[in-house]
Structure formats: C-alpha cells, structure tokens
C-alpha cells in the first residue's frame, strides 16, 4: 500500500476522477449542445440561439419562474438561518445528547417525505384543519388558511424549513461545541450580559459557518425539483419544474428551452457555491 512518489497520487485519483469528469463533462456538453438546438433526435443539427432568445424573452414564463424560485429560496434560507441561530443558541446553553440525536433524526426524512407530511398536515382539509374544525375554530375547509399549493409557495417554504432548520442548527451547534470552554463563558466572565454575548460573541463566531451553510441551502433549494413540483401551484412554477416540463415535452424542440433553463440554474448555483467556498476559505485562514 505504500504510495510511490510522483505519479502515484494521480493513479489513485484516476478512477474517481474519471467518473466525475466523464459524466459531468458529458452531461454539460450535451446540455449545451441541445440548448443551442443541436438535437439529433429530430435530426436537427443547426446551431441557433433561438432557445435562449425564447427563454429570455421578457414575456416568457422564465422570468416569473425565476422570481418565484428566488423568492422561495431566499425566504426559506433566511428564515431557516434565523430560526436555526436562535435554536442553536438556546440549545447550546442547555446542551443534551438527545438534542443532537433529535436533530439528526431529521435526516431520516428525505425532502420528498417532508413534503408529503406537509401536504397531509397543512392542506385545507388536512389534519390541522380537521382539528381546527373539531374545536370550532373553522366551519369549512375553505376557512382554513391556504398553506399548501398556494400562489406564494408557503407550503414549499414550510417544507424546506422543516429540513433546513435542523441542518443549520446542527451546523451552528457543532461550531459552538468545538471549544471545551465556550467563548460564551469567557465573554460572560469578561462582563458581557446575555444579549451582548449573543451579539458580540456567538453570532460572529458562527457567522462564517452559518453563511456558508445558508448559501448551500440556497443553492440546494434553488435547484431542487421534488418539493415545488409536489407542493407548488400550476402558475407560477419554480424554475426546475419549468425546466423539466420543457425537457419532457412531446415536442422535442422544447428540450432546448429546458436545457437553457437548466444551464441558467447551474450557473446561478455555481456562483453561489463559489462565494460560499470563499467564505469557508477565509474562515480557515483567520483561524490560522
């Protein structure tokens, strides 16, 4: 098993790298090819930017979907981050092992399953509405607020919150717990009161991790399909839903537009990820 010098690292990396480069590269190339109209399926080999023009046309549904996708991603991310921060601060002061387990437990419920749970629980005739009706708070399902399959994506956002709050909470907690004596205690000893400790110590301490985590969350939400497909309305649709719709359209020419949207999603997510990486790097440097 001793690695021989010089050529050895690349030999060890080769299998994994080949898979990644080959598959990702191919998928990217095909996506670009189809986006510019090179669709061999229907024997169309001319290169044109018409799909881009079509997609970016000011009247196209793309813009509505972009705004809708940005809205659900940004709202979910900000709310998750705020709640997770509060929760983590609260939990770190009265830390128990069962907390970590409880938060990890959430891993067992993939996004798809969470969406289903939200659907069964929060729809206008869902479990919560039934309880409300039993208690006499509402008379008819229509009296219950529209929280699922609503125009503003509230159901989608709630579903993401259910998954992302535990994720970010764990991220923050692991930062807070990485010291044997919390900086919190140090700060208290130096005279900081509760609020000052949160303001001047806890938040700056977890900010890089929280920011990086939030950007990951944003990228994930922005590009994922299942939740908005299940909990969204017909219009406006999230970008990934729109992209897949075009991609699966019986009219194969629509695939170009699907690919264009998919490439735009990838571009946005990549930019966000690069920012997140940079934050992570700076944090490492700071801590020497």
């Amino acid at each position: 098993m001793r690695d021989k010098p010089i050529f050895s690292p690349w030999l060890s990396l080769a299998p994994a790298l080949t898979i990644v480069i080959l598959l990702l590269g191919a998928s990217l190339l095909y996506a670009i090819a189809e986006s510019v109209g090179y669709i061999s399926a229907i024997g169309q080999h001319e290169i044109s930017l018409s799909a881009y023009r079509e997609t970016l046309n000011l009247n196209s549904e793309f813009w509505t979907s972009l705004i809708f996708s940005l809205w659900i991603s940004v709202a979910s991310t900000i709310i998750s981050a705020a709640v997770a921060l509060t929760l983590a601060v609260w939990l770190s002061e009265r830390s128990r092992n069962s907390d970590t387990f409880a938060l990890n437990w959430n891993l067992a419920f993939p996004h798809l399953v969470w969406s289903v749970a939200i659907l069964l629980f929060l729809s206008q005739s869902g479990l919560l509405a039934r309880w409300a009706a039993t208690l006499g708070i509402i008379q008819m399902p229509a009296d219950f607020p529209v929280l699922v399959r609503d125009r503003f994506g509230i159901g989608i956002i709630l579903s993401y919150l259910g998954k992302e709050i535990p994720f970010l909470t764990i991220t923050i907690l692991s930062v807070l717990r990485s010291q044997s004596i919390g900086f919190d205690v140090v700060a208290e000893n130096l005279g900081a009161n509760r609020w000052q400790r949160v303001r001047y110590v806890t938040i700056p301490q977890v900010l890089p991790a929280l920011l990086a985590g939030s950007l990951i969350v944003f990228g994930f939400i922005f590009s994922s399909y299942e939740v908005p497909a299940l909990l969204g309305v017909g219009y406006p649709r999230a970008l990934p839903v729109l992209a897949l719709r075009f991609f699966l359209d019986p009219d194969l020419r629509a695939r170009s537009e699907g690919m264009v949207i998919s490439l735009i999603i990838t571009l946005i997510v990549t930019v966000v990820a690069v920012i997140s990486l940079k934050i992570g790097e700076r944090k490492e440097k700071d801590e020497g």
């Binding site: 098993m1 690695d3 690292p9 060890s12 990396l13 299998p15 994994a16 790298l17 898979i19 990644v20 598959l23 990702l24 191919a26 998928s27 990217l28 190339l29 095909y30 996506a31 189809e34 929760l87 009265r94 970590t100 387990f101 409880a102 990890n104 959430n106 891993l107 067992a108 419920f109 993939p110 996004h111 798809l112 399953v113 969470w114 289903v116 749970a117 659907l119 069964l120 629980f121 005739s125 479990l127 009706a133 399902p141 764990i170 991220t171 990951i216 990228g219 590009s223 399909y225 299942e226 497909a229 299940l230 992209a243 897949l244 991609f247 998919s262 999603i265 990838t266 990549t270 990820a273």
Partner: protein, 264 residues
C-alpha cells in the same frame, strides 16, 4: 418554573421532529377518514396489504435496496484510493482535484440527469440498473471522498510503518490495519452513500426512464394527488431504512454527519 418552561419547549421540538412519523401511521392504517373527523375512525391494515400486493411495491423496494447497496459499495471502492491521497499527501494540483470533486455537490441533479439522459441512451445505459447506479454515484462520490479523506487526515501512517516493520504484507496491512482503523468512517460513508441513492428521485427518473422503478418514484407519483393512505404507507416504507440507519449510527453521525446532510 423557568426550567419547566424550557424543558417543555424542548419536548415540543422533539414532537415536531417525530410528528411526521405519527402522521403517516395515522393515515396509513385508517380508511374513510374525511374532513372534519379529527382522528381516524376506521383502522385497517387493508391499505398496507394492498400496497404490498401491488406488483410494483416489492420490486421497487428490492430494486431500490439493490441499487443503493451497489452505490454504497462502489462509491467506497472508488473513494478509498482518492481519499487516501487527498487526506495524506500534498501534491501539485490538489486544489484542482478538490474542486473537481466538489462540483457534483454543486451541479444540480436536474442538470446532470437531463444531460446524461442523452449520453446514456446512446451507450445503452438508459433504463438499466447499471445506468442508474452510475448516475447515483455522481452525487454520492463527493460525500464518501470527503468523509474518508478527513478520516485519513486523522489517520497516523506510522501504524502502517509499524506493521510493515513487523513483517506484514501490504495487502495484510491494508486489510488488518488501515481498513480496521478506518472502519467507523467507512461505515458512515457507505451508509450515507446508500441513503443518498435510496432517496434519489430525479436521477432515477431521468436515467431509469420509467423502467427502473424505486420507491421515491412510486411515492412521488402517488403524492401528486393520490390516495392519502397509500401515500402515507409508501412514506413509511420509504423512511424505514433511513430510520434504521440513523438509529444505528447515531454516534458516528455527530462527527461526520454534517457535511453529508445537505444532499440528502
């Protein structure tokens, strides 16, 4: 009093986290449960049996487990040598390699799947289990590599030198020293590759092309407006393996889980 309030809050938090499970159980084992009845009136095993007798359920379960196991195994095999190099060696281009392995975590499965769909059709992998396994490896590989390379970074190579000095063969050292010391990380990495694959919807849909059916495919099509009892039953089946895995690996998760969580 203050303590009472805070401990209560904690249990509310726990309740929120178990609530989906209770919800699914209530829906899965009841029938004719309509608004505004607050709790099920008619309990039944019928839906459960019905779902099990559906010709799709068992094959999709088996197929999903088989695919996820293969993905777990393969990503370990692919990741181990790469993770070792990344964890223990400094070499030119290391940054670039990191970045390349990071890419699959960024590029959404949607784009990967849409692009690969055409390639796999050409080479005959579309609609086959092999194709789906290969596609699933894309999102799982980075996580196995990251988990294992951080384990390797903590691994002291002197144990291997020691074994070598004591006369062990390289193969023996790999099996009995390296792998044994890495076992906890290996288990976690494999399990999470398994889980990511198990819950993969889009890639399976786009590559499997309706021929490779796994539980998320069934659940998704049911959930877009189907029978609530069936949806709940499928959800229960869907989360059974993850729940088991989480329960078994609770401790290791605290150390490794975080970086893996998001994709999942």
């Amino acid at each position: 009093m203050k303590h009472f309030v805070t401990s209560k809050f904690r249990y509310i938090l726990y309740l929120v986290l178990v609530a989906p499970l209770l919800l699914f159980i209530a829906y899965a084992f009841s029938t004719r449960w309509f608004f505004p009845q607050p709790f099920p009136i008619e309990w039944t095993m019928e839906t459960f049996q019905h779902v099990f007798h559906d010709s799709q359920t068992i094959p999709s379960l088996a197929q999903g487990l088989w695919i996820a196991s293969l993905v777990g195994l393969l990503s370990l095999i692919l990741a181990l040598p790469a993770a070792r190099v990344l964890g223990l060696r400094k070499f030119r281009g290391r940054q670039l390699v990191w970045l390349l392995f990071f890419l699959p975590t960024i590029i959404p499965p949607l784009s990967v799947g849409m692009g690969l769909n055409i390639l796999f059709l050409r080479v005959g992998l579309a609609g086959t289990i092999a194709g789906v396994v290969l596609a699933h490896i894309i999102p799982t590989l980075p996580y196995t590599i990251f988990t294992l390379s951080s384990a390797y970074a903590r691994f002291d190579e002197n144990y291997e030198f020691q074994a070598l000095a004591l006369g062990a063969s390289p193969w023996h050292i790999f099996l009995n020293v390296t792998l044994r010391m890495m076992t906890p990380s290996l288990v976690v990495a494999a399990l999470f590759a398994f889980l990511i694959s198990w819950s993969q919807y889009l890639l399976t849909l786009l590559i499997g092309g309706g021929q490779v059916i796994t539980l998320p495919i069934l659940l998704f099509s049911a959930a877009s407006g189907g029978n609530p009892s069936v949806i709940a039953t499928l959800s229960l089946l869907f989360i059974a393996p993850p729940v088991l895995v989480i329960a078994v690996t609770a401790r290791q998760l605290n150390q490794h889980g975080n970086q893996i969580r998001e994709q999942y």
